[in-house]
């Protein structure tokens, strides 16, 4: 079983995640989409660990780190989101445009 189906699946998930992250208006869903994208990356890592040029556990170790980082990221993301919600009263991404000129 070669590596291409896994990579294709990962690519599909990544693109869906990307679309979600950039189009959804609800901040939480954006966070979720980013999680999905990270997962796609994880899948790639593990797929390469098994079928890659140098099969070994490095991929898996790395995916562990990836999962840790993702968890930390979600935690901080939700914290910021809640804080933002408390200040702004909204979780709509389009309203968060204070960076505007």
């Amino acid at each position: 079983m070669s590596i291409t189906p896994y990579l294709t699946l990962a690519a599909i998930l990544f693109c869906i995640g990307l679309y979600g992250a950039l189009s959804k208006k609800n901040a939480i869903i954006v966070l979720l989409s980013i999680e999905l994208m990270l997962n796609a990356v994880n899948l790639n890592l593990i797929a390469f660990a098994k079928y890659g040029p140098k099969p070994g556990l490095a991929g898996q170790i790395f995916s562990l780190f990836n999962i840790t980082v993702a968890a930390a990221e979600v935690a901080v993301g939700i914290a910021i989101l809640i804080n933002l919600y408390r200040n702004r009263g909204t979780t709509d991404v389009t309203d968060m445009d204070t960076m505007k000129r």
Binding site: L18, A21, L22, S23, V93, T94, M96, D97, T98, M99, K100, R101
Partner: protein, 623 residues
């Protein structure tokens, strides 16, 4: 002894120049004295001119002096100086005499005007320029004085500047003459390049052209261009429109400039450069035909005018046409002789008209009438002038016109008949003018009285001259021809021409008497049954309107078009560039709307483009 006065010929123009400077500098303080200074200056230069004339009577060699180093162009040296030939000497006398008389006359005529000194200074400047023109040694010097004369006519016509008509007339005079001047200018340039050694002196021109060093086509070009210059100044057919309008200026000016001197300059120029014209026969033809046509054309218009000065103006144009015709036919002496005689009786007529206007304060002949009784001298002198103009036997007009007509008779039958008909018309409108103004009962209530001495003295002198001037060059004694060194035409009394011209003259006078004197024949024969012809002639064949539409409005249109082009295209492009830059800037602005997702999208697209570009290289090899 031979040349001692001639060598001082350059003094003749100097006196008026000095007078001009004095009048300009101390114009306001002088008040009365200004007139006397200008008269004295003119008298001095007249006396000197007479002395030169008598000195020149003896021999025919020209006296030239051109050591004044004026301009160096590379290896070629352009000098200035003066030249006295018989023709110049004659012209000097005519000009100084007439301007002297006009000065005297205008002392009286301009008495009331507070800017009288300015007037006299302009006259002195004009005299200086005219005299300078007459004795100039090369074409460039002539051109300089030529333009100066144009400016003086402009200043004098526009003397009463507060009148809008005067302003328009002055502008028109200057611009139309300017058109002519450009012709002369181009002719001069051609001369400069095609004359051996680039010299522009008349003597050099005489030698080059008479020996035929210049090939005919170039000679024709130069001749025509010079003739265009002459047409502009002398008011020949296409460029004649400014002359009648120039009547806006004071009457002495009309007399001096627009009768005797300036307008004659054109004829003088052609005479002076006769060798060029001789070199190209078809140029001669052009000059003849233009002259002939102008003669009859102006004569017809003259019959329908109601303003006394305009009638005389058109008669001047017509007589100048005669002179040009003479020159065109090769009869240079006849042309010059007619110029000589015309200067006197036309100046006489104008000054007479001036005293009439001074008396009745209007220029419209329909309001005048029955002045003969009240203004004895003016009436008689005016009569002599009119008869001379109409070419009645003893008077000078007859001889000069006869000379021209006989020349026409020999060379060109058509022109002869044209000249004859024009003579008839001339006689007719002079008679009409005389009878309307002097005969019949007075139509306006103004109490006319005879003008004071300064008016009448010049009139009498001119009248005498008008009578005797004729005998200088008659079929019987061709002294003038020989003197002028133009021995070409053998002087044979051509009786048929004499008889015919006298008949034409008498017929014209008779008709004039019948229509306007006894008005047994109703005045508006022409106006009655051919009103359109009358209005056509009265409106000067609508030439003025034609010029106005074609040139003035045309130029304005082109100008407007260019202006629109300038504002919208040239400036438009500049504004377009700035607008483009601003537009692009604003486009970029819309991208910065502060939303992370937009930035994300932009990054994604950027990445894709980059990837495609990199990946794409393998597929289609660009550079």
């Amino acid at each position: 002894m031979a040349n001692d006065f001639t060598s001082y010929a350059w003094l003749v123009p100097l006196f008026p120049l000095l007078a001009f400077l004095v009048l300009i500098a101390a114009g306001r303080q002088l008040r009365e004295a200004g007139a006397y200074i200008s008269i004295v200056a003119m008298l001095a230069s007249f006396v000197l001119a007479l002395l030169i004339f008598f000195e020149r009577l003896g021999h025919t060699t020209d006296y030239t002096w051109n050591q004044l180093k004026w301009l160096t162009i590379g290896d070629f040296q352009l000098n200035m100086g003066f030249e006295v030939t018989n023709l110049n000497a004659l012209m000097l006398v005519i000009v100084t005499l007439v301007s002297l008389l006009v000065n005297i006359y205008s002392k009286g005529y301009m008495h009331g005007d507070e800017r009288v000194n300015v007037f006299f200074s302009y006259i002195q400047l004009f005299s200086f320029a005219m005299l300078g023109l007459v004795i100039s040694v090369n074409v460039l010097e002539l051109y300089i004085f030529w333009e100066l004369v144009g400016v003086c006519s402009f200043l004098l016509v526009g003397f009463w500047y507060f009148k809008p008509e005067a302003r328009a007339a002055a502008k028109k005079a200057f611009i139309v003459t300017r058109v002519g001047d450009v012709g002369l200018f181009l002719g001069m340039l051609l001369l400069f390049w095609y004359m051996p050694g680039h010299s522009l002196d008349f003597s050099a021109i005489h030698n080059a052209f008479s020996q035929g060093k210049i090939d005919p086509s170039i000679a024709t070009w130069i001749a025509i261009l010079v003739f265009v210059g002459a047409m502009g100044k002398s008011g020949q057919f296409p460029l004649h429109t400014w002359l009648p309008d120039a009547m806006e200026g004071p009457t002495p000016i009309s007399a001096l400039i627009h009768a005797a001197t300036m307008v004659a300059a054109g004829v003088y120029l052609v005479a002076r450069t006769m060798d060029i014209f001789q070199a190209s026969p078809d140029a001669m033809l052009v000059v003849a035909y233009v002259g002939g046509f102008t003669a009859i054309f102006a004569a017809t218009i003259g019959t329908a005018q109601n303003d006394i000065k305009r009638v005389l103006a058109y008669s001047t144009v017509s007589q100048l046409g005669y002179m040009m015709m003479a020159l065109g036919l090769g009869a240079a002496t006849a042309g010059i002789f007619h110029l000589f005689t015309h200067a006197f009786f036309k100046a006489l007529l104008f000054l007479g008209a001036g005293s009439v206007i001074h008396a009745v304060h209007t220029q419209d002949i329909r309001e005048m009438g029955g002045l003969a009784g009240k203004m004895k001298i003016t009436a008689w002198t005016f009569a002599i002038g009119a008869l001379a103009l109409s070419g009645i036997v003893p008077l000078s007009g007859f001889w000069s016109k006869d000379a021209i007509l006989s020349a026409a008779f020999e060379h060109n039958q058509l022109l002869f008949w044209v000249g004859l008909i024009a003579a008839f018309f001339t006689a007719f409108y002079m008679a009409r003018l005389f009878f309307l103004v002097f005969a019949g009962k007075p139509r306006s209530d103004a109490h006319a009285h005879e003008s004071p001495a300064p008016f009448t003295f010049p009139l009498v002198v001119l009248a005498v001259l008008a009578v005797i001037a004729g005998f200088v060059f008659t079929p019987f004694n061709g002294w003038l021809g020989h003197w002028l060194g133009d021995h070409a035409e053998a002087e044979t009394a051509n009786w048929t021409v004499m008889i015919l011209s006298t008949l034409a003259g008498l017929l014209g006078i008779g008709l004039g008497y019948v229509m306007y004197g006894k008005n047994s024949v109703s005045r508006d024969i022409v106006a009655g049954n051919a009103p359109w012809l009358y209005t056509l002639v009265y409106r000067k064949y609508y030439i003025d309107e034609l010029y106005d539409v074609v040139f003035v409005r045309g130029l304005r249109l082109i100008g407007k078009a260019f202006e629109l082009f300038d504002i919208y295209i040239v400036d438009g492009i500049v504004r377009l560039c700035s607008a483009a830059v601003v537009g692009i800037g604003r486009l970029g602005l819309r991208l910065q709307n502060g939303q992370v997702q937009t930035y994300g999208l932009a990054t994604l697209l950027g990445l894709l483009i980059l990837a495609l570009a990199l990946a794409g290289r393998r597929f289609f090899h660009l550079g």
